[in-house]
Point group: C2
Chain length 344, copies 2
């Protein structure tokens, strides 16, 4: 089959690899219908040291079950399924507590002998705990929105949930990438009435306004902080959803958080040390967030997608066939595309 591999910064190729097959009785093999390129794929795309070996890519996909291991009972051949960006048993203590990305027996795609989602097919470990059936056909117009449940929508939702967003909380969302825009949608869906979106790409922030943002602040750094404070009577907002992952975004979050507020991060931090001294402590701020336990959220979010109440799939502004996945990376890296859907 054909699959996407990265060989170093800027070097993405679609190559021939052996077809995946059932290895464990808990496995399924899924033929991929739609996948996509993630903002987090751009981190190695910009920094990965060159290697002759290559690493499989992709952790977001919707597909059709082709075959199941002998003990798989939750999904069967022919089911259209959504895969979270991590696989898990969904039964261990951590999973039951809602932290599926820390499953005692789980792991991530494109690692440890498991393939990536930017491919024709993939072996899914712990299929019962991982895959969620969607009651639609593979030609459904809902496909882009279903695909966001793999990662970006559930991740935006996680940011809002961990921040405790509700109708009484004001919100700042930092970042106008797909996750940031879907954090706006999520905050609105959870009842927030005032959502300030910090982003400087007009086509993106326009979509943010459509998703529920009430104000856009294009300035960044100190200027951006000053603008949000000006909009909030000098106080900042109760919640700040940091959807970037770079340190300046965290510093911006610190600057716009209201006394007693919560900074919720879902962009994987590309730094270790950050300011957690008096700037965080003195105002009783809380710093939370982490990798979204997508599996935990799909059951809640899927019905709204199926009935068309929300349309998170709007974050996809380009579609490519699998063979053109490298172009998809390039377009996202150049900010020509917000998020690229790979149609198989």
């Amino acid at each position: 089959m054909r699959a996407t591999y990265m060989y170093g910064a800027g070097d993405v190729r679609v190559i021939d690899v052996p077809d995946p097959k059932i290895e464990e009785p808990t496995d399924a093999v899924v033929r991929i219908v739609a996948a996509c390129v993630c903002g987090s794929d751009l981190h190695p795309y910009r920094s990965m040291p060159g290697s002759g070996k290559g690493t499989p890519m992709g952790h977001e996909f919707v597909g059709v079950v082709e075959e199941t291991g002998s003990v798989v009972s939750g999904v069967q051949t022919g089911d259209l399924v959504i895969a979270p960006f991590a696989w898990q048993d969904n039964t261990c203590e951590f999973c039951r507590e809602g932290f599926q990305t820390s499953c005692r027996h789980g792991g991530f795609w494109a690692a440890g002998g498991i393939g990536g989602g930017q491919a024709e097919a993939v072996r899914v470990p712990l299929a019962d705990g991982t895959l969620v059936k969607a009651p639609v056909g593979e030609d459904s117009a809902l496909m882009p929105s279903l695909l966001t449940l793999s990662d970006v929508f559930a991740t935006g939702h996680h940011a809002a949930v961990r921040a405790g967003v509700n109708q009484r909380t004001t919100v700042t969302v930092i970042g106008d990438g797909a996750v940031g825009l879907l954090a706006v949608l999520s905050a609105r869906r959870l009842g927030a009435e005032r959502i300030i979106l910090m982003g400087r790409h007009k086509t993106r922030t326009d979509l943010g306004l459509e998703f529920g943002a009430t104000e856009v602040v294009a300035e960044r750094g100190e200027e951006g902080i000053a603008k949000v404070l000006e909009l909030t009577g000098g106080d900042g907002t109760h919640t700040v959803l940091e959807c970037v992952g770079h340190k300046p975004a965290y510093e911006q979050a610190l600057g716009v958080a209201r006394v007693g507020g919560v900074i919720s991060r879902v962009g994987v931090p590309q730094y270790d040390d950050g300011d957690i001294g008096w700037n965080l402590f003195g105002r009783n701020l809380t710093l939370t967030g982490g990798p979204a336990p997508v599996r935990h959220y799909i059951d809640e979010l899927l019905p709204d997608v199926l009935r068309g109440a929300i349309n998170p799939g709007k974050v996809f502004d380009r579609t490519v066939p699998l063979e053109q996945t490298p172009d998809g990376y390039r377009a996202m890296d150049d900010r020509d595309a917000l998020k690229v859907l790979i149609q198989l």
Copy 2:
């Protein structure tokens, strides 16, 4: 009157200063009955640059109202009152949200023209918002416990509250100072059934066991982390109450926090940058805490003290008269005393 001033590291003096008097109609003047030395007073005691001017000291006291400004209505002359370590109007938005240490109109003792609590008397700004009446006489045997409501007990309670401690959460308390021990008491009071106390001074950890700790870990750093993990099947605890304020204590907290857990800090951080990368983010840990909004908690904690259900005053293991306050600092700095009560 006589008041305690610090002139530099290790240089504490009791000196003559003018008597405090009413300056604003919202003021009260309180004659101090009992005060104490705080662990946080030891930070300047160890590092303050020498100065000819000196700065007033003390932010924990119980006293008797001597005089009130013309608009003060909540307390009157003769009342025995407890003073939180910050003063506030207790009516602004931040106060109503439970963040009195960030009161829009409040401030801290021993700063901005307000005296300190290690003195014969003090002017109390915003007396109605600040002082809480205790229905006992000034010779009450409850005095040490009432005095802990000024800071250390309420601060330990804050650590536990912000961490979300309840009967389902396991707890690690880092630090066997007065705040750490009272964080143990607070966690127990909020229902925690398993409380691991990290501290290496046996007389202190013995009091921790009396307050409700179920295990003591004397080791520190990597060794201490390994021990807590061993006690918890490799997982760590749901909540970690960091009651020290130094960076190694934060690193220890990171090491013993369970997936999805909360690190709650109440020791004023003596550092700015700390690890908030994948070590915090990857396991969906939350970092919270800050200066305790003591005023917010006294109403809840006072009844338990008055009926003798708890005895937080046990943290005082030495009593000195005001003139010997410098000896009190020395004893705490030498770890000869856990916490020193100044009896006036």
